[in-house]
């Protein structure tokens, strides 16, 4: 009973949240709902970045690779299973006709299967990240060199995908909004509503998974790698498997995020692997608060919502605001907004403004209650 009573605020929050999520599609326009769903899927990639950067201290500027791989897997499956779509000769997806391709490229074949696709969305990016990570971490490459390597890998993938018209339609990308999934058109309002709910569910599950990981000794080991890796080695830990595992997990989360983003935005293209986008992902986490899961999620959601709302009102201004936010975080709010709140930032700000609430009554109160208790 006491357990339930002490937990009622959480229960209430959960019930209100659930009601809101269920009711939201009826409350806002399909356009806004779609945007919200996209931004929620970006919160998943942000959680992955938080694990690898915020907790483990490895700044990856190449999460776009894994994000796009998840998106491409989904789009390939949808293009293959689009029964109502117009087709190139041989029943291939339409764009192949433009380049005179007669034979489906081999790596498309397994994407006929929905089950393979579902697995590939997470496992292909995880495998690429795991392999890249293992080679890099085993050679004790870290810090800025790791960041540069991930950025370079991003450019390699971007150029490759951009140039391969005959394999994956190159710079045009793969469209998904006119394809069909489970009998519904992917771009339809009904399907988008389901996808929104799916995104909410997956974002919640990802958050729970990350919370479980960072709260235990595994998470403590990650913090130890971030803060003093050599010390951890001397305790008998090999940091390489930890880093590889976290980087692979961050890759898998980016893949899931990219898949959800693709079906809600209607297209996947090499632009997902453009350098500025991967850097933006890092900015969401930095502004929200690295090393806090809420900060990463809120950063992705709020910054992207701000971006679309502000760009609608004042086009051209967004880049300045984003740059300003980043400067603010780099210079004064190193822990991001959530970190600032956790470290008592609001109270200090009030103090600076001469509005510090008087705290002197608090110890007196505590003293009085104790005396009462003793009587």
């Amino acid at each position: 009973m006491a357990n339930i009573r002490s937990r009622w605020p959480q229960l209430l929050l959960g019930v209100v949240g659930l009601a809101l999520v269920v009711a939201l599609p009826s409350l806002v326009s399909p356009f806004r709902l779609n945007l919200l769903g996209r931004y929620l899927s970006l919160a998943i990639v942000a959680l992955g970045i938080d694990l690898i950067w915020g907790y483990t201290g490895l700044l990856s500027l190449g999460q776009g690779i894994f994000f796009a791989l998840g998106g491409y897997g989904t789009a390939m499956h949808l293009q293959l299973n689009c029964h109502g779509c117009s087709r190139a000769p041989g029943g291939l997806p339409e764009f192949f006709g433009l380049y005179g391709v007669q034979q489906l490229p081999w790596f498309w074949e397994p994407f006929h299967s929905p089950w393979f696709t579902l697995l590939a969305i997470g496992l292909v990016p995880a495998a690429v990240a795991g392999l890249l990570g293992f080679l890099v971490f085993r050679n004790r490459i870290k810090g800025v060199y790791f960041s540069i390597l991930t950025q370079a890998a991003l450019l390699v993938f971007f150029n490759f995908f951009n140039g391969q018209q005959k394999l994956i339609n190159g710079t045009n990308g793969l469209k998904t909004d006119l394809t069909r999934l489970l009998g519904l058109m992917v771009g339809s309002d009904t399907m988008q509503r389901y996808l929104f709910w799916l995104t909410v569910l997956l974002a919640l599950l990802t958050w729970l998974l990350c919370r479980w990981l960072v709260r235990g000794r595994f998470g403590h080991a990650l913090l130890a790698i971030r803060d003093d890796e050599a010390r951890l080695r001397c305790l008998g830990y090999n940091p390489t498997p930890f880093k590889t595992m976290v980087f692979a997990l961050a890759g898998a989360l980016a893949g899931i995020s990219g898949a959800l983003y693709t079906v809600q935005s209607g297209i996947v293209s090499p632009q997902f692997m453009a350098a500025p986008f991967s850097i933006e992902m890092v900015i969401w986490v930095a502004v929200g608060g690295r090393g806090t899961l809420w900060g990463a999620m809120a950063g992705a959601l709020v910054i992207n919502m701000g971006k679309s709302l502000i760009s609608e009102a004042w086009p051209q201004t967004w880049l300045f605001i984003q740059g300003g936010l980043f400067l603010l975080v780099v210079t004064t709010l190193q822990g991001g907004v959530v970190g600032w709140f956790q470290e008592g930032g609001p109270r200090r700000l009030l103090g600076r403004l001469g509005l510090r609430p008087r705290l002197s009554t608090y110890p007196a109160l505590a003293l009085e209650t104790r005396q009462e208790g003793e009587d």
Binding site: H220, A224, C234, L235, Y237, N238
Partner: protein
């Protein structure tokens, strides 16, 4: 189990040079199981490099290190640590963002792999060891505090606690009493003395009072070589030791 005669740790002809500077020159040293050994030496004598060689951080250009009859060359830091060699660093290095208890939990965990940490809970024996160590290093009331909020002396003790809780066969302790008060220094000496016997302990220290209190065999390092070995009194009477500590001119005066 090594035979009683064979040493637990043996360094044979170790030489280390950094860009031509010889930090260790043909260093030989043996440590018997259960022994408590103090290593002293003036600044730059190679004391810390000598620990770096044992723990795998520095590869010697010549010579070999044997632990329980097995060569440690070619092993990584974590492999050497898993063989049962624990190290306390010169300036206290604890994980400041973690609580005192979490620091000790990381040290005591077994196996030290991602899956090991995720799958297994701490056993009750491990938990008892943590509680016991918290009492020994006097940090029980601060168990839930962030290690970063501890004083310098408390951090030293936490690191010693992290070292001992792993139950290593060999403890390498680098300057455990730097920055400690007299009372704390005495307690640290007693703690290390009580550990010897079950464990083998090698202490590097500048503080002569502390070394005297350990009442044990002392090795003097000078310019990367063993200058002499013996009890504290023997060592202090040795004219060569007086020379390297106080300078040549002082030697002739008394």
């Amino acid at each position: 189990m090594p035979t009683p005669g064979s040493p637990l740790l043996e360094l044979v002809g170790i030489s280390v040079s950094f860009d031509g500077f010889l930090a260790l020159k043909n260093l030989n040293l043996q440590l018997a199981a259960g022994e408590l050994r103090a290593v002293i030496g003036p600044n730059g004598a190679g004391k810390t490099t000598f620990l770096d060689v044992i723990t795998g951080k520095v590869r010697p250009q010549a010579g070999d290190v044997y632990f329980r009859g097995r060569s440690l060359l070619g092993c990584n830091e974590h492999q050497i640590a898993r063989l049962g060699i624990g190290r306390k660093f010169q300036s206290p290095r604890v994980f400041e963002q973690l609580s005192v208890q979490e620091n000790l939990s990381l040290a005591v965990s077994e196996p030290k792999t991602p899956m090991g940490l995720l799958r297994h809970h701490l056993t009750s024996t491990q938990r008892q060891r943590i509680h016991h160590l918290l009492d020994v290093v006097n940090l029980a009331p601060r168990a839930q505090h962030r290690a970063g909020s501890l004083s310098h002396g408390q951090k030293q003790w936490l690191e010693i606690g992290m070292l001992v809780v792993q139950a290593p066969r060999l403890l390498l302790v680098d300057e455990p009493v730097a920055g400690l008060s007299d009372g704390e220094t005495e307690r640290t000496a007693d703690l290390l003395k009580s550990l010897a016997g079950d464990h083998t302990v090698l202490v590097i220290e500048h503080d002569m009072e502390f070394i005297r209190r350990l009442q044990t065999r002392v090795t003097v390092l000078h310019q990367g070589q063993v200058l002499c070995e013996g009890s504290m009194d023997q060592v202090q009477r040795d004219p060569r030791v007086v020379e390297v500590y106080l300078g040549a001119s002082q030697e002739q005066q008394p």
